[in-house]
């Protein structure tokens, strides 16, 4: 079964999504912030593996875990903790709600707070949230479309000011 985990920086900006199955990596998608902050790390994971500290009796041994290894998810979780990043694994229902939240005009901290709240909901509550989020994204999309039309009309009016009227042409 596929698991999706979201990575956030200390300011709660989303850096990307990691999809894993049986602990090994299926795919990773980074946001622009993620590309900037952890893009090079992701590249290293693919070539060298994820640095992972394993405790053996009294000694800590560093290993590099391949993206195909079943311990990949665990090693990224540890890496995120060392890097002071938030690592949040979510169910598919929560992920669907998160995708709606990501489209809302919210601050990163507000989005993150809602995600944490979502994770504590039961199925019935999650369904109510999903419905409200759907209404909210529809309402926001409607406002965006209205603004886009308004901007288009505005540019047409501005462009009209550049059209040379036949009267002006004669003079």
């Amino acid at each position: 079964m596929e698991t999706t985990s979201l990575l956030f920086d200390a300011e709660c900006r989303v850096l990307g999504e990691l999809c894993t199955t049986g602990g090994s990596l299926v795919r990773a998608v980074l946001t622009d912030d993620g590309e900037e902050k952890i893009g090079s790390a992701l590249h290293l994971w693919q070539t060298e593996g994820v640095p992972f500290l394993r405790k053996m009796e009294d000694v800590q041994v560093q290993e590099h875990i391949s993206v195909r290894d079943g311990r990949f998810l665990e090693s990224v979780r540890q890496w995120a903790s060392v890097m002071h990043l938030q690592f949040v694994s979510v169910t598919s229902d929560v992920l669907a709600c998160w995708q709606q939240i990501a489209r809302l005009p919210l601050e990163p901290l507000q989005r993150y707070s809602m995600l944490l709240a979502l994770r504590s909901l039961d199925v019935q509550e999650l369904s109510v949230w999903r419905e409200s989020l759907h209404e909210a994204t529809d309402a926001v999309t409607h406002e965006r479309e209205k603004a886009a039309k308004e901007i288009q009309t505005m540019w047409t009016n501005v462009a009209k000011s550049l059209v040379i009227s036949p009267k002006r042409k004669k003079t």
Binding site: C12, P105, A117, S120, S132, L133, A139, I151, M154, I164
Partner: protein, 113 residues
């Protein structure tokens, strides 16, 4: 005044895309002197900023109208926590006051207990 019917490459790059699209659809001869185009573009950018600022407010209002009180409360949870952290000057590991817990988390915490 110098009149041009078509844009040079340099002009195309400096023209706002919306203005260029609108100009392409309008019939008739246009005053595409650098001065006229620059003034039109500046006017358009100013107007666009106003529309986008108004849209932002409308978007937030539309979103808040659709969200339940529990969701609005959850949205503020970490913001409240962070403000408190800043005020206290240290990280708070446990939020003890139920006043800052959003309803949904509070109910969940009670249920767990």
């Amino acid at each position: 005044m110098e009149m041009k019917r078509s844009f040079s490459i340099e002009q195309q790059h400096s023209l706002p895309a919306g203005l260029q699209r609108a100009l392409n659809t309008l019939p008739g001869e246009k005053d595409l002197s650098a001065d006229a185009v620059s003034r039109a573009a500046q006017r358009g950018y100013r107007e666009r900023e106003k529309i986008l600022a108004a849209e932002k407010k409308k978007e937030v209002a539309a979103m808040l109208a659709a969200l339940t009180p529990e969701m609005k409360s959850a949205m503020k949870f970490h913001a409240i926590q962070r403000t408190q952290e800043a005020a206290d000057g240290e990280k708070i590991h446990h939020v003890g006051s139920s006043a800052v817990l959003p309803d949904v988390l509070h109910h969940r915490a009670l249920r767990r207990d």
